[in-house]
Subunit: 78 residues, 2 copies
Protein backbone atom coordinates (compact mmCIF):
# COMPACT_ATOMS: atom_id res chain seq x y z
CA UNK A 1 0.00 0.00 0.00
CA UNK A 2 1.52 3.34 -1.10
CA UNK A 3 1.69 5.77 1.81
CA UNK A 4 -0.41 8.93 1.84
CA UNK A 5 2.76 10.99 2.03
CA UNK A 6 4.07 9.42 -1.19
CA UNK A 7 0.75 9.96 -3.00
CA UNK A 8 0.57 13.59 -1.81
CA UNK A 9 4.12 14.32 -2.96
CA UNK A 10 3.52 12.49 -6.26
CA UNK A 11 0.41 14.51 -7.08
CA UNK A 12 1.90 17.83 -5.98
CA UNK A 13 5.23 17.39 -7.80
CA UNK A 14 3.42 16.51 -11.03
CA UNK A 15 0.94 19.42 -10.68
CA UNK A 16 3.68 21.95 -9.83
CA UNK A 17 5.93 20.70 -12.65
CA UNK A 18 3.12 20.90 -15.24
CA UNK A 19 2.03 24.32 -13.94
CA UNK A 20 5.61 25.51 -14.49
CA UNK A 21 5.59 24.04 -18.02
CA UNK A 22 8.53 21.78 -17.13
CA UNK A 23 9.22 18.29 -18.48
CA UNK A 24 10.50 15.59 -16.10
CA UNK A 25 13.87 16.15 -17.77
CA UNK A 26 13.74 19.90 -16.97
CA UNK A 27 12.84 19.23 -13.33
CA UNK A 28 15.56 16.60 -12.97
CA UNK A 29 18.14 19.07 -14.28
CA UNK A 30 16.93 21.96 -12.13
CA UNK A 31 16.79 19.85 -8.94
CA UNK A 32 20.01 18.02 -9.81
CA UNK A 33 18.39 14.59 -9.57
CA UNK A 34 18.12 11.76 -12.09
CA UNK A 35 15.13 11.85 -14.51
CA UNK A 36 14.12 8.30 -13.64
CA UNK A 37 13.94 9.50 -10.06
CA UNK A 38 11.38 12.18 -11.01
CA UNK A 39 9.22 9.48 -12.56
CA UNK A 40 9.52 7.28 -9.45
CA UNK A 41 8.52 10.24 -7.24
CA UNK A 42 5.57 11.16 -9.46
CA UNK A 43 4.32 7.56 -9.33
CA UNK A 44 4.66 7.29 -5.53
CA UNK A 45 7.18 4.48 -5.94
CA UNK A 46 9.81 6.14 -3.82
CA UNK A 47 10.02 7.55 -0.26
CA UNK A 48 12.17 10.58 -0.92
CA UNK A 49 14.09 12.36 1.83
CA UNK A 50 13.24 15.74 3.30
CA UNK A 51 16.43 17.20 1.80
CA UNK A 52 15.19 16.17 -1.66
CA UNK A 53 11.71 17.57 -0.97
CA UNK A 54 13.42 20.85 -0.11
CA UNK A 55 15.35 20.85 -3.42
CA UNK A 56 12.10 20.38 -5.34
CA UNK A 57 10.31 23.06 -3.28
CA UNK A 58 13.14 25.48 -4.08
CA UNK A 59 12.86 24.77 -7.82
CA UNK A 60 9.10 25.33 -7.67
CA UNK A 61 9.40 28.39 -5.44
CA UNK A 62 6.96 27.06 -2.83
CA UNK A 63 7.22 26.53 0.92
CA UNK A 64 8.20 23.01 1.97
CA UNK A 65 4.87 22.33 3.68
CA UNK A 66 3.02 23.09 0.40
CA UNK A 67 4.71 20.01 -1.09
CA UNK A 68 2.56 17.98 1.36
CA UNK A 69 -0.59 20.10 1.41
CA UNK A 70 -3.71 18.34 0.10
CA UNK A 71 -4.89 21.54 -1.63
CA UNK A 72 -1.68 22.34 -3.54
CA UNK A 73 -2.47 20.28 -6.65
CA UNK A 74 -6.18 21.12 -6.65
CA UNK A 75 -5.42 24.88 -6.67
CA UNK A 76 -3.13 24.44 -9.69
CA UNK A 77 -5.49 22.15 -11.59
CA UNK A 78 -8.40 24.69 -11.57
CA UNK B 1 24.64 23.90 6.55
CA UNK B 2 21.61 22.06 7.92
CA UNK B 3 18.69 22.31 5.51
CA UNK B 4 15.58 24.29 6.41
CA UNK B 5 13.52 21.15 6.03
CA UNK B 6 15.62 19.35 8.65
CA UNK B 7 15.42 22.26 11.08
CA UNK B 8 11.65 22.55 10.59
CA UNK B 9 11.11 18.85 11.21
CA UNK B 10 13.50 18.92 14.18
CA UNK B 11 11.66 21.78 15.86
CA UNK B 12 8.20 20.40 15.13
CA UNK B 13 8.94 16.82 16.24
CA UNK B 14 10.39 18.08 19.53
CA UNK B 15 7.47 20.49 20.14
CA UNK B 16 4.82 17.87 19.27
CA UNK B 17 6.54 15.20 21.39
CA UNK B 18 6.82 17.51 24.42
CA UNK B 19 3.23 18.71 23.97
CA UNK B 20 2.15 15.05 24.08
CA UNK B 21 4.20 14.50 27.23
CA UNK B 22 6.28 11.83 25.45
CA UNK B 23 9.94 11.01 26.01
CA UNK B 24 12.17 10.25 23.01
CA UNK B 25 11.91 6.61 24.13
CA UNK B 26 8.08 6.79 24.05
CA UNK B 27 8.09 8.31 20.57
CA UNK B 28 10.61 5.77 19.26
CA UNK B 29 8.41 2.95 20.50
CA UNK B 30 5.18 4.41 19.16
CA UNK B 31 6.68 5.17 15.73
CA UNK B 32 8.62 1.91 15.67
CA UNK B 33 11.97 3.63 15.12
CA UNK B 34 15.19 3.55 17.12
CA UNK B 35 15.54 6.06 20.01
CA UNK B 36 18.90 7.32 18.71
CA UNK B 37 17.07 8.07 15.48
CA UNK B 38 14.63 10.36 17.33
CA UNK B 39 17.56 12.29 18.74
CA UNK B 40 19.18 12.60 15.29
CA UNK B 41 15.88 13.89 13.84
CA UNK B 42 15.37 16.39 16.69
CA UNK B 43 18.89 17.73 16.14
CA UNK B 44 18.49 18.08 12.37
CA UNK B 45 21.32 15.60 11.83
CA UNK B 46 19.29 13.34 9.59
CA UNK B 47 17.29 13.70 6.35
CA UNK B 48 14.39 11.39 7.14
CA UNK B 49 12.16 9.93 4.45
CA UNK B 50 8.56 10.94 3.76
CA UNK B 51 7.38 7.50 4.93
CA UNK B 52 9.03 8.15 8.30
CA UNK B 53 7.53 11.64 8.49
CA UNK B 54 4.15 10.03 7.94
CA UNK B 55 4.73 7.55 10.78
CA UNK B 56 5.54 10.42 13.16
CA UNK B 57 2.54 12.47 11.95
CA UNK B 58 0.29 9.47 12.63
CA UNK B 59 1.66 9.10 16.19
CA UNK B 60 1.09 12.83 16.81
CA UNK B 61 -2.32 12.83 15.14
CA UNK B 62 -1.46 15.73 12.80
CA UNK B 63 -1.60 16.14 9.02
CA UNK B 64 1.67 15.46 7.22
CA UNK B 65 2.05 19.06 6.03
CA UNK B 66 1.89 20.27 9.67
CA UNK B 67 5.18 18.43 10.28
CA UNK B 68 6.75 21.03 7.94
CA UNK B 69 4.68 24.08 8.80
CA UNK B 70 6.65 26.97 10.32
CA UNK B 71 3.81 27.74 12.78
CA UNK B 72 3.34 24.22 14.20
CA UNK B 73 5.92 24.52 16.99
CA UNK B 74 5.12 28.15 17.79
CA UNK B 75 1.43 27.31 18.34
CA UNK B 76 2.38 24.53 20.78
CA UNK B 77 4.97 26.59 22.62
CA UNK B 78 2.49 29.39 23.55
Amino acid sequence: MKSDARRLIARNVRALRVAKGMTQEDLAGAAEIDRSYVSLIENAHFSISVDQVEKLATVFGVAIFEMFHPDTAAKLEQ
